[in-house]
Symmetry: C2
Subunit: 328 residues, 2 copies
């Protein structure tokens, strides 16, 4: 108990986040596919955060943080940096709360992601990825405007918001009369999996939570082994644009180092295979970074035989051209 | 009551079907998308039968029929004709029940649909669409083998099975605390919508059920107006391969003529728009025929402002090449 109380986020924070998100965020369903169960010889349950507001779990953490601001702070707006899902999650949450949102985005970000973020009412500030620092630009902007700066993972309220995915997993498993042996969750900076791990440690302590990362970006898996925050080789590349954080977060790793059972890495080709499987057999759109946990399952990184496994599909914001080239 | 008792399928049949399908078919979720609600100014709930076993609602009717056969009849197998969703639904249901399935399919059916049907263990007999009659071939085969012949819509057990979609809609609406003003359901031969209409007439009588058909294949809409079973112009074409029945079924029209509030037709371009919207905003794969009800909503055939509307997404079995060409 002493150890649990030292973590930067506790179960009570996640319960409070769930209260704030009730009737606001989508309670994404827990899906079973009998043909998948037969294929793997176990029971698999998918949690499609692809169906969440703005197409990924990121809305949960953003709304949990922003909804706690007082009226004056809301008037000052929010600043964040992201080229993808966090940008859209922040933009959607800010719009709901009547706040101005400014997103610092690389000038070479996919046009569609910039367009979607702008559609939700956010202002976009582009920067040059090679010569400028997004952190510095965003921090200076936030200071000048008195706006809140919203990190994409290393923030207790963000982690607690993402943890509501784990709370729902436990509630939905109970309703289905099952207990998970394992949960597979993607890991970039580690905010989603940290929140899920805290929620499951409390509600379903027998479930082992595994991080899944792209090959070359398995910094969390390596950090779990070494016990310290390892970094990513700057030359590493992956199609999983949502999972390219250079290092585990400080807060997230403080949680993940104590709560995770281990980590797996999957190749881009395994990710493409999982996206194709999701298209042909599940009829779900999953983006590359959202498909890594499914890829780990389908490629046999974890044996599902006789087991009950939860898999989080974390997002579905994929460029139509890329998606078409993968399935066709 | 006298009138209801004259219908070929009654509510009790649907309840019995639900009992047979419990724990076997997927109870597909009822999905809400806050951004869609804001866009339309109403409340919309989507029922994605794309997530059903074999990728469409067809499994429900097939399993309801086949699971009632005795051991001897099961040993003799099942014969059906279909180039698409019914083929896969029958093949999946037969495989679960240990029955041999034979599907009569046009020689020019999409290779992927034949492959998927064969993967589920069915035997495929090809015929020449121009010179041969699938009905005659299938009937002769069934007679020679003593096998049951399973129609794709004009059968009371098939209609009752599909009606479990409506039963779930009503249960899930009650759980969400809403009542539908209208339900939009695709219509080919009319089996799904007939079952849904019977279920809703009993559980949620205030809901108006509307048929949605492809332009040129709006035989049910025209038949509702004329009061008799109208036929489709043999020259008509549509990308909605699941909805090309030449005429309303005899049993289905006996139901639909009394239970439907009307019908809408949507163009192929509106269907493509709906499929793209499902990709970008809903992250769901929907086949052309499965997207017509959504297309009717998005194109304004029915006004959602201030209303609560259920939309059935009936199937997701779409060729990857076609899907890629539509989204890209």
């Amino acid at each position: 108990m002493t150890q649990m109380s030292q973590l930067p986020v506790e179960f009570a924070h996640i319960e409070a986040a769930a209260g704030r998100l009730r009737g606001i965020a989508v309670k994404t369903p827990l899906l079973a596919f009998p043909a998948l169960d037969r294929k793997l010889g176990g029971r698999v349950f998918l949690k499609p955060e692809t169906l969440q507001i703005a197409g990924s779990f990121k809305f949960r953490g953003a709304y949990n943080r922003l909804s706690q601001l007082d009226a004056a702070a809301r008037r000052a707006g929010v600043v964040a940096w992201s080229s993808g899902n966090h940008a859209q999650g922040v933009a959607a949450a800010a719009a709901m709360l009547g706040m101005a949102a400014t997103i610092v985005m690389p000038a070479d970000a996919p046009a569609i992601k910039a367009a979607r973020t702008r559609e939700m009412g956010a202002e976009i500030i582009f920067y040059d990825r090679l010569t400028e620092s997004r952190e510095k630009i965003a921090t200076a902007l936030a200071r000048a405007r008195g706006a809140v700066l919203l990190p994409s993972y290393d923030d207790p309220d963000v982690i607690a918001g993402q943890g509501t995915v784990g709370l729902e997993l436990a509630e939905q498993a109970a309703a289905a009369g099952v207990t998970f042996d394992s949960a597979l969750v993607c890991c970039g900076g580690g905010g989603l999996i940290a929140g899920v791990a805290i929620a499951l440690a409390h509600t379903m302590p027998s479930a082992n939570v595994f991080a899944v990362e792209p090959t070359g970006f398995d910094d969390t898996a390596r950090s779990l082994v070494s016990g310290k925050r390892e970094t990513v080789d700057p030359e590493a590349r992956s199609i999983c644009d949502a999972l390219l954080a250079p290092q585990p977060g400080e807060l997230t790793f403080a949680i993940n180092s104590r709560r995770l059972a281990g980590g797996f890495a999957v190749t881009d080709e395994e990710v493409r295979d999982a996206m194709r499987f999701a298209f042909t057999d599940l009829k779900l759109i999953v983006e590359p970074g959202g498909a890594v946990a499914l890829a780990a399952l389908l490629s046999g990184r974890i044996d599902a035989e006789g087991r009950c496994i939860a898999v989080v599909l974390s997002g579905g914001n994929v460029d139509p051209g890329l998606f078409a080239s993968i399935i066709a």
